[in-house]
């Protein structure tokens, strides 16, 4: 409820923020405005959204490029993901500088919720007069069962802007080397020394938690683009990747239906793995399943013979693998070499580290992941995205989940800055809390203002023994609802913490059932 009132308050000041502008339809006006801005440097820039308070002088920032600070792991244990993300950022920045954008804007997203329904050949006709909505013609027999949803293939459009507000965008990227201490130094450097306008950074949850206090200290606008365990409620942080409630429950439900109730969790031993395993354990009973054992593996482990023997001994119906990093990915070829053939589920593997491309078949055979994006997503818009990417990086092997998130996130940032008419960080945080939809390669993504998390298009991807991927089930929009249940509303009540399942009494209720 409070979401609505806050939006009303903002749009009340400016009843027409003219959101269609942002989708790239009418760029001419803005160019005029930009010229004026350039000519009258020093005068407060006009903004499309009145009522925002400026916390920095506009003068200082309207000169020079817009700086996008970027930290990812280009070397070390997590580099297999970091390089994809870096390329995604480079592609997005290049497109922004070339005057391109993705469709979308506050409250005007196409796509959105889809639902399974019965469809007739033609849409029904409803009588003009009746308030009772009398149906004149039902459109034929409702005989086709399908998801009532369709998505637009043509989402890559002109922004009517070169760069952001006429300023070139610079990507200042540094290598975190998979080392948390280094991440903190680099975050300080980007924020204090380079004075970046926006920070896009973070693979592992440990890395994010290492730099978040620094982000909060300087009130830095920060995007965390990773898939993660959920729970971050931070007024300065926008989390654009999917979280447990969007992935764990769909995949566990599918595994229980298809293979049986008994699951065995194998997870990386740090906050992501521990908390995702807790979600799996807590929610399996709700869909008729049960986690019979959990094992947490240190990130440095790459020798799995004992783990494999323990799984064989437990004889589960399926194995939930939440393995992270180049060391742990060796579980798959080792398990395959040891003849392990249990069906596997995951929320990370395959979609991120493209293990199915890197390891010899059938290492990843029978892997199921409720993904939000991976290269194989079979839509026209995604094929266009992959084509653009491969034109820029012809030697790349794969585009994973987080790479796509980084890509649309930077485009989203550019759109929000154009709408706000400034790169002022405090203003932009408010602009981002307008309820944005963006047409990402995965589908329509909605940034929920109160929790700073995104609703995503989730698909169940299955890998076969030749390592081909097919998508067996679609959920066109799954909300990141958990923080809402905890009563988080960052628009109304800023906070700066991460919630864990321990703080939710519901988790204990579920656990008792198992």
């Amino acid at each position: 409820m409070s979401d609505h009132s806050s939006q009303d308050r903002q749009s009340g000041n400016d009843p027409q923020a003219n959101p269609s502008d942002v989708s790239g339809g009418t760029g001419a006006d803005r160019r005029k405005v930009l010229k004026l801005m350039g000519a009258a440097a020093g005068v407060a820039a006009p903004t499309y959204l009145r009522g925002f308070e400026y916390t920095r002088s506009v003068q200082a920032e309207s000169s020079g490029p817009v700086k996008v600070g970027f930290i990812e792991d280009e070397s070390g244990n997590l580099s297999v993901y970091g390089i994809q993300k870096l390329h995604a950022a480079q592609l997005a920045v290049k497109e922004i500088n070339e005057g391109k954008t993705l469709k979308g804007g506050p409250d005007i997203g196409a796509g959105g919720l889809g639902t399974l329904g019965s469809v007739a050949k033609n849409p029904p006709t409803i009588s003009k007069e009746g308030v009772a909505l009398d149906v004149v013609d039902a459109g034929g027999d409702k005989s086709i069962n399908e998801v009532v949803f369709d998505e637009d293939a043509d989402v890559f459009v002109d922004s009517g802007d070169k760069g952001i507000l006429g300023r070139k965008v610079d990507l200042i990227s540094v290598d975190g080397q998979s080392n948390n201490a280094l991440w903190q130094q680099l975050a300080r450097r980007l924020i204090q020394q380079d004075k970046v306008d926006v920070l896009v950074a973070g693979f592992a949850s440990a890395e994010r938690e290492a730099i978040r206090p620094i982000v909060d200290q300087f009130k830095q606008l920060y995007f965390y683009t990773n898939q993660y365990e959920g729970g971050v409620a931070d007024a300065n942080t926008f989390c654009t990747g999917p979280v447990c409630e969007q992935q764990v429950i769909p995949v566990v439900q599918y595994m229980v239906e298809k293979f049986g109730p008994r699951g065995y969790t194998l997870a990386a031993d740090y906050n992501f793995g521990q908390l995702t395993a807790a979600w799996t354990k807590a929610f399996a009973p709700l869909v008729g399943g049960q986690i019979i054992a959990e094992e947490f593996v240190p990130l440095s482990v790459s020798e799995f013979s004992q783990v494999i023997a323990r799984v064989q001994q437990a004889k589960p119906d399926w194995v939930m693998t939440l393995l992270v990093g180049q060391n742990q990915q060796n579980y798959y070829p080792q398990a395959a070499a040891a003849g392990l053939k249990f069906p596997m589920a995951s929320t990370v593997n395959m979609a991120q580290g493209y293990e199915h491309k890197r390891f010899k078949p059938p290492s990843l055979a029978n892997m199921h992941n409720a993904i939000q994006y991976q290269l194989e997503v079979p839509t026209a818009r995604n094929r266009a995205f992959v084509k653009r990417w491969m034109a820029m990086f012809p030697n790349d092997q794969y585009i994973g989940e987080m790479a796509q998130n980084t890509y649309f996130t930077i485009h989203l940032y550019a759109k929000a800055a154009r709408l706000a008419g400034t790169t002022d960080q405090a203003t932009l945080k408010k602009a981002l809390e307008l309820g944005w939809s963006i047409e990402a390669p995965e589908g329509s993504v909605f940034l929920e203002p109160g929790t700073h998390h995104c609703a995503h298009y989730i698909r169940l991807a299955v890998c076969d023994e030749n390592h081909n991927v097919k998508f067996v089930r679609d959920w066109p929009s799954i909300q990141a609802w958990w923080l809402q249940r905890l009563g988080v509303n960052l628009v109304r009540h800023p906070e700066y913490k991460q919630y864990t399942p321990d703080e939710d009494p519901y988790f204990k209720m579920f656990l008792k059932k198992s």
Partner: protein
């Protein structure tokens, strides 16, 4: 049948853990054990072996040839290293420690700069054999055998050849050995080269089961040092065999019952206790046993 399979599985895990420690320590046994050089670049020499194997394998060379190639390439590199740098640090243990650490940084960062953050993986050769509900990787079974063969070969080399005799003499008393006509400089080069080559060889053997990346060596350094130090310097080869079996004996049941993480903790605790109880290592205890028995015999 089920309990029989479980016994087989535990035995397999025991042997795998032991072989992992022994293979990790292989090059270090020679360099630390014989020459008393604390070689912190051990992991990076293993990395070089894995890199050699990966590059050769992806050019169509059969895997076993790749491993031998890794032995030769890293061995030659070791000889070069000894000739140019290491020999300036004999007798200065701390100096050698720092200089090998520097070499390790140059090698890993150099690999990152030249080859990028990772090389393509090598598929694990061989299939699996099943016993009851368990199944075992043929590749690891082969590695267990290879670890045994290598350690026997090393023992024979140092106890039954002229080179071994001269090497042991040079290590015990270099001045005396020189006086008796042993070219100690050559012995040192060959020994270091052998140690480096063995590290490269085990790096190549591990290559299919790990990610081939610039910092991959680090995961083997700790187990390697623990194995050699627990083994002790009295008799390096028996020490390494004894300590890897002893440590695996602790790690295997704990890891099987309580998980890999607790297994690793148990291994480290065991190493701590063993070093406290046997400050000269396992080999000193074994040697004392043998000596006592010989005296009574």
């Amino acid at each position: 049948m089920d309990s029989f399979a479980t016994v087989i599985s535990v035995l397999y895990q025991f042997a795998t853990n032991g072989a992992f420690l022994l293979l990790s320590a292989l090059g270090l046994i020679v360099i630390l054990g014989m020459m008393n050089i604390i070689n912190l670049a051990h992991g990076e020499l293993m990395m070089m072996g894995a890199y050699t194997a990966s590059i050769a394998w992806h050019r169509g060379v059969p895997f076993w040839l790749c491993a031998i190639l890794a032995f030769v390439v890293v061995g030659l590199f070791g000889a070069l290293l000894e000739r140019t740098i290491i020999r300036r640090f004999y007798g200065r243990e701390l100096g050698a420690l720092v200089v090998t650490w520097g070499i390790s940084l140059i090698l890993s960062q150099g690999a990152l700069a030249v080859f990028g953050p990772f090389l393509p993986a090598i598929p694990i050769p061989g299939g699996s054999v099943a016993v009851g509900q368990y199944s075992f990787s043929v590749y690891w079974l082969t590695n267990i055998g290879l670890a045994c063969l290598l350690i026997i070969g090393l023992w024979a080399l140092y106890n039954h050849t002229t080179f071994g005799l001269q090497a042991r003499a040079a290590m015990q008393n270099a001045a005396m050995a020189r006086a008796l006509g042993v070219d100690t400089g050559r012995i040192y080069t060959l020994t270091f080269s052998l140690g480096a080559g063995l590290a490269g060889f085990s790096g190549a053997l591990f290559a299919p089961t790990v990610s081939i990346a610039p910092f991959m060596g680090q995961q083997f350094v700790a187990p390697a040092f623990i194995t050699v130090v627990v083994g002790g310097a009295t008799n390096v080869i028996t020490g390494a065999v004894g300590s890897s079996l002893l440590l695996s004996l602790v790690k295997t049941p704990v890891g099987f019952l309580l998980g890999a993480f607790v297994g690793t903790v148990a291994l480290l605790l065991a190493a701590l206790v063993i070093i406290r109880l046997m400050p000269d290592g396992v080999s000193a205890v074994i040697q004392r046993r043998i000596d006592r028995r010989n005296r009574f015999a």
